[in-house]
């Protein structure tokens, strides 16, 4: 490894090797289990849409009906297609309606019926994946036409009103003011819903529901903005929580460009069952890989709950695990928006040098990943003047260390949801720094053997130590024991466990087959 930190290449190799060893058993687990949400995602790819009169999505009704008759472990594709053939129903949405009314019986086909069902299921799901492929090609075309942002890092701004029709003008205004990426924050608690709401939504709590229709509306609005501004404006949402595979699928179908997608966030911060999460994770990442979506991982969260100096190495460990899981699922380096954050207590002496060391470590460890650089939140107070200064230093660290995606910090963090003027001031801050020091990363070479180099190497060393402990203990046990700080999450506890099943002999998932065949 060349680079600015003089990292020991053998140690870097060792870190990756350990991450692979820690992650492999979890991948094996993911390959041998399915979940209700994975199966619902398969049905969405096969074209099942809409909801019943109570607002429950038909994919939920159909999966529930199959599970009631034959369980989850065979996957739903074969029982559904077999029933459709037997009932003489071409349209699977129609079959779902009948199943919801209780008038369809499901069975697991065998012999020639199974072969025929496999072929038909693969065709139906293949049509959904072809739609995702077309959306990806469309994105490539639009990027070619309108162009990428002129500068790196790309500027990432959040909107969150709860009402998609309010979000749209706000997002378009933010794009006009310089945002390259718009993220629509989800309503509080959506991650714990075991279904994806339907339709355009106008009410949410501190955010807007992720629905297919909301995705479509916002993407169409930003396509308009891209035309107007002459650069392709990207759209981000959250593939996390109990419906991660379905949200990823909807993102692919509606040409979202980036998705928050962390391997362990749901387990640690939302108490979602670890196995449920890892199974859902793998499927959602395979979809993201296929859809050309850039994932953003959630390492910033570790630093909001633990001390950012003491826990710096947990970020590195999580990045290495996220990288392994991402590569395994078929994501390329350019799709890895690995996360990290500017969260060191500003009262600490040399806090900025420590930030530079940590940020540069991520940059050097993952030279081809875009890296998602997250602004200070934990040490933001009501003192908006100090907050604006801190955000300026955050922006400076971002450009000095060549970060790929910069989430714009708000001086009113922890005070109000950003006002129009807060956003304007924040963007002014970013523009000043990028204009004044946009090329500084070329000149910024830490002194050999100096503070920054020593600190970065120290953190890498701690990360390797922690990875060794995780490998010895196994990742699932490490999570159960509370190794990742804060709280213990045993594999037999947590939300969504009842929606997990081990594969039975003959389990068939045409989506996985197609997605893995392409790797």
């Amino acid at each position: 490894m060349s680079g600015k930190l003089d990292l020991d290449p053998a140690l870097v190799r060792r870190a990756r090797q350990l991450a692979r060893r820690a992650g492999k058993p979890v991948v094996d687990l993911a390959r041998s289990h399915t979940t209700v949400s994975v199966e619902r995602a398969v049905l969405r790819l096969a074209g099942v849409t809409g909801a019943d009169a109570d607002g429950i999505p038909l994919v939920n009704r159909l999966v529930d009906a199959v599970v009631a008759d034959v369980g989850l472990g065979h996957g739903v594709a074969l029982p559904v297609v077999e029933a459709a053939t037997r009932e003489g129903v071409d349209d699977l949405t129609l079959l779902a309606q009948k199943a919801a009314a209780g008038s369809v019986r499901f069975e697991v086909p065998s012999g020639r019926a199974a072969t025929a069902a496999r072929r038909a299921a693969r065709r139906a799901v293949g049509a959904g994946i072809t739609r995702i492929d077309k959306r990806r090609a469309e994105r490539d075309r639009l990027i070619k036409r309108h162009g990428d942002p002129d500068q790196r890092p790309w500027i990432y701004l959040i909107v969150a009103t709860g009402d998609i029709y309010e979000d749209i003008p706000q997002a378009q205004a933010a794009a006009r003011e310089g945002a390259d990426i718009i993220a629509v924050i989800r309503s509080t608690g959506q991650s714990l819903l075991d279904y994806v709401p339907e339709g355009a939504t106008r009410e949410g709590f501190a955010g807007t529901y992720a629905t297919q229709e909301n995705f479509r509306l916002m993407r169409a609005a930003l396509d308009e903005s891209s035309r107007e501004l002459g650069r392709y404006v990207r759209l981000t949402n959250y593939a996390s929580g109990l419906c991660m595979p379905e949200i990823a699928t909807l993102a692919g179908l509606e040409r979202l460009d980036m998705m928050l997608n962390d391997s362990m966030y749901g387990i640690l911060f939302r108490d979602i069952n670890p196995i449920r999460t890892f199974v859902d994770q793998r499927f959602s990442r395979q979809i993201h890989a296929r859809a050309g979506i850039i994932i953003n991982t959630g390492e910033d969260n570790y630093l909001t709950t633990a001390d950012a100096v003491e826990a710096a190495h947990t970020v590195t460990v999580s990045q290495l695990l996220n990288e392994y899981f991402a590569h395994e699922a078929g994501l390329a380096d350019w799709q890895l928006g690995l996360g990290h954050a500017f969260e060191i207590n500003p009262d600490l002496p040399e806090s900025f040098r420590l930030e530079l060391a940590h940020a540069l470590l991520a940059r050097e460890l993952f030279p081809h990943a875009p890296l998602k650089w997250m602004p200070p939140t934990k040490h933001m107070t009501g003192d908006v003047f100090r907050g604006n200064l801190l955000d300026g230093f955050f922006n400076l660290a971002g450009t000095m260390t060549g970060q790929g995606i910069l989430l714009v910090g708000m001086m009113t963090e922890a005070v109000v949801t950003p006002w129009l003027s807060d956003r304007d001031i924040a963007l002014q801050n970013v523009r000043y720094v990028l204009n004044a020091a946009g090329g500084l990363h070329e000149d910024f070479v830490p002194a050999p053997g100096g503070f920054i180099q020593r600190r970065a190497n120290h953190v890498l060393g701690e990360a390797v130590d922690l990875l060794e402990r995780i490998v010895d203990d196994t990742l699932l046990n490490a999570i159960a024991d509370g190794t990742f700080g804060i709280t213990k999450r045993p594999a037999d506890r947590g939300k969504g466990l009842d929606g997990v099943a081990r594969h039975e002999a003959g389990y068939y998932n045409p989506a996985t087959e197609i997605l893995e065949g392409e790797q």
Binding site: F205, F269, L420, D424, I486, K495
Partner: protein, 248 residues
């Protein structure tokens, strides 16, 4: 010492303040006039627009400095006191560690048919709410979140098995006063099953509760809309540690 004061810029009694705001008009002479008119109505006289900047199509951001003529009489200041001090997570942990000398156990659930775990999750999950981490984040608290639709007997049993110091129940659904009904059932069950000296602190929360109804519903405390994890943690420490010490 005089109890009448006014803002301080650089001289005692100068009354100088600074404020910023946005008006939904494009930036021009008329906009500045509008900003001055607003400042005047807010009691700034004289007022100076020191900065005006257009944002987007039809908005202008202003920074205004000016002198207010209002006086503040300190003797008339009334402060509403919470009946327990608001503590930081660090203070909560320190008090539990020093005074209780073991983990403080909290069992939480949504009871009855209520499947809305948003409230209990916001208070308990590490993720928390409104920038505050949930109770799981507090190292000295042990949190057992039983989730939704927990039957009252199961809650009592779990509280006993976990040796709960406090039981947190969240209720969102209020159809036919289900939240009041469920709460009464829960408190009665604890009264029946657990002797008073070993009964956990009973706390309920939800957007439609009247915080003054605690005694009537047989619980120790009710939290309403907008409650944050830190308030709950501070209350638990107050009720289980600080106040107990005073009573003893």
């Amino acid at each position: 010492m005089s109890t009448v004061i006014r803002p301080y810029g650089d001289t005692t009694g100068d009354g100088m303040v600074q404020l910023s705001f946005t008006l939904p008009v494009p930036c021009d002479k008329r906009a500045e006039g509008a900003a001055l008119q607003l400042a005047g109505k807010m009691g700034l006289d004289p007022a100076m627009v020191v900065h005006a900047k257009q944002m987007g199509e039809g908005f202008t951001f202003f920074v205004v400095y000016g002198r207010v003529n209002h006086l503040v009489d300190l003797s008339e200041v009334v402060v509403a006191e919470r009946d327990f001090p608001l503590l930081s997570p660090h203070e909560v942990n320190a008090l539990v560690k020093r005074r209780l000398r073991r983990e403080l156990v909290v069992v939480g659930a949504c009871i009855g048919t209520d499947a809305h775990t948003v409230g209990i999750d916001a208070i308990l999950n590490v993720k928390g709410i409104a920038g505050e981490k949930g109770l799981e984040y507090y190292r000295e608290l042990r949190v057992v979140n039983l989730g939704s639709q927990v039957a009252v007997p199961d809650l009592v049993e779990a509280a006993r098995a976990e040796k709960a110091d406090a039981v947190l129940v969240s209720q969102v659904v209020t159809q036919r006063d289900a939240h009041l009904h469920n709460t009464r059932e829960m408190s009665a069950a604890f009264r029946e099953a657990v002797p008073a000296d070993r009964r956990p602190l009973l706390v309920v929360g939800g957007p439609r509760f009247d915080e003054l109804m605690a005694a009537e519903l047989g619980v120790n405390r009710i939290f309403g809309r907008g409650t944050t994890p830190r308030e709950v943690a501070s209350y638990l420490v107050h009720a289980l540690i600080t106040q107990k010490a005073k009573a003893a």
